[in-house]
Amino acid sequence: MAVFYSNALRCSINGYRSMSMFPKHYAEPIKRKDMEEFNKSELTKFYHIPIKPALNSYSDTVFNDEIKGKMLNYITKNGNKNLARGLLSRTLEIIKRAQTERMHLSPDDKQKVNTNAEKILIDAVENSRPLLQLTSIKRGGVNYQVPVPITKKRSYFLSMKWLLDAAFEKDNKVGLPERLAWEILDAAHGQGRVIKRKDDLHKQCESNRAYAHYRWS
């Protein structure tokens, strides 16, 4: 606790507030197993630098993937990551099962069916990323929906959120993994609700393009 206060104090002296409890000169931990590949000289510079502790979600398995990890975090509710992990792996399993079966049953165009569930997930997320979004801006007592460009990070967030929303919206009789799997498969093929939602947003942005110069902040 004392460390925290002293750090916070130091941060405020420097004139900025950081969200991290560690000051800026703390180095990021290295998330790699093969430390032998590092140069000795490269490592020497870490000798006297304080290093942040590693997050407990860091993983060095070869099966790790950034988008998968993000998706996992978005599925998580109430910190129950274990459950979320199970749901996501079940989702990927369903996707892979469907695709593998399709591939084995259609011998002529075997090469065309993609059985890599993770790749399909990434495709789906990429396909449903929006380019713009609408923000509400008040001008003369009237709220205008103004199209503004969005950052890359937010577009990824929105696309994953929409996928999950669509999955949650569906009929409650089947489990989440099934629903999510079908949404992802749809989105990966450029159809389905999520893609429609994105297109709707784009259309609305287009019809509101006259307000674009109202953008303020």
Partner: protein, 394 residues
């Protein structure tokens, strides 16, 4: 030789990996020239010998395919784990790996003197090491080599989740009519062809009620069909059928292969079935237990008994060890006392490698970064079931 094989195995993995990468790249492209390499790598972990009787140490860690009709005949009513069935459906082929416990068992069975009292073989091992699949392999052998199969896919189902329990005619006993009927259907699908061929007859008249009876000299098929159509008498029919089978095989008219998965359920301290006075019933008060205990005793000849003991057949508090003595208890152990234990273990390195190759061939593992196999080996501890779970989402 071993070194060479290992080396060659690595080569084949590389080739499969290459093939994988090409595939990933050419998801949209037209056909790529990988068919040749695929055909070459197939022989590495597959064998064309589909008859379990001909399997030898040469085929260890290789996959053989069960023909579709035979699979339908033997495993329609159960016998393969549910998830394995799912895998078969996904891969659109029913493959089993030839493993040493099954080979050991087959070796014993082939060299056994059938005129002597039946030998009981007990499969044991930790959770998910492949006891049921070993049994499936041997069942396939039995079905091909004219054994009448008396196969209970998973005995704990009767003790843990019966469809319906009703009072039997005997005082204090409970009947599971639906489960008994289901088992009769299973018996019929497995043995229909053989029963037609052998034309086995009943030795005495069975009187079910005032009006219904099966006369002496009617075929076993009639007996079974009666049990299926009159569900009320299904259990009694099962008892009759099994005692008939024992007599017939002792007389040398047929060979019988008994295979009971989760045999220790018959000796569990209690079941989940409640009697009329709301008390848990012990397995020996279930009428269905009797015939199967009867057929596993050694007082008949011309047959083999393959039993498996499983931790999962027990309930909580009784699952400390997978050893037969612990799981069967004193009564169970004494019941099958002179028996041949067959230990089923986790994969060996070779089997593991072969399985990974099979998964790669079936496009089930799609991510093949450097060192993935070692990692899977480490994470699964080479346990078949754990490996299956891990690989599911890759």
């Amino acid at each position: 030789m071993k070194m060479f094989r290992k080396h060659f195995g690595n080569l084949s993995r590389v080739s499969t990996q290459l093939q994988r990468n090409v595939l990933q790249l050419s998801t949209n492209a037209e056909a790529s020239p990988v068919e040749g390499t695929a055909a070459a790598s197939v022989n590495e972990f597959r064998t064309a010998v589909a008859n379990p009787g001909e399997h030898s140490a040469l085929h260890v860690a290789k996959f053989y395919t069960i023909p579709v009709e035979q699979k339908k005949q033997i495993f329609t009513g159960g016998g393969l784990p549910k998830q394995y069935e799912q895998q078969i459906k996904t891969f659109t082929e029913s493959c089993l790996m030839v493993r040493s416990p099954a080979l050991e068992l087959l070796h014993y069975i082939k060299n056994a003197d059938l005129t002597k009292p039946v030998v009981r073989y007990v499969l044991y091992g930790d959770n998910g090491v492949g006891k049921t699949l070993t049994m499936a392999h041997v069942l396939h052998y039995g079905a091909i080599n004219d054994f009448l199969l008396v196969h209970v896919p998973w005995a704990p189902n009767w003790m843990k989740r019966p469809k319906e329990a009703s009072n039997a005619t005997q005082e204090g006993m409970l009947d599971l009519p639906f489960d008994a009927a289901a088992w009769l259907v299973h018996f019929k699908t497995q043995n229909a062809k053989l029963l037609q061929q052998l034309q086995l007859k009943t030795s005495k008249e069975y009187v079910w009620s005032k009006r219904e009876s099966t006369p002496a000299g009617s075929t076993l098929i009639e007996l079974v069909e009666h049990g299926i159509s009159r569900i009320k008498y299904a259990t009694e029919t099962t008892v009759a059928l099994i005692s008939e089978l024992k007599q017939l095989s002792t007389a040398g008219q047929c060979k019988v292969m008994v295979a009971i998965d989760g045999f220790n359920a018959f000796f569990h301290p209690e079941t989940r079935i409640f009697s009329d006075n709301k008390q848990r019933v012990t397995p020996d008060r279930i009428t269905l237990t009797q015939p199967f205990l009867d057929i596993t005793s050694y007082d008949w000849t011309n047959g083999v008994c393959i039993l498996s003991v499983d931790k999962l057949a027990m309930t909580e508090g009784y699952m400390d060890s997978y050893m037969p003595r612990y799981l069967l208890g004193t009564a169970g152990f004494e019941h099958i006392d002179p028996f041949v234990p067959v230990h089923v273990d986790n994969y060996t390195d070779k089997e593991f490698h072969s399985y990974i190759n099979y998964y790669l061939d079936r496009h089930w593992i799609n991510k093949t970064p450097k060192g993935f196999e070692e990692q899977l080996k480490f994470m699964s501890n080479k346990n078949p079931y754990t490996l299956m779970q891990l690989v599911k989402s890759l």
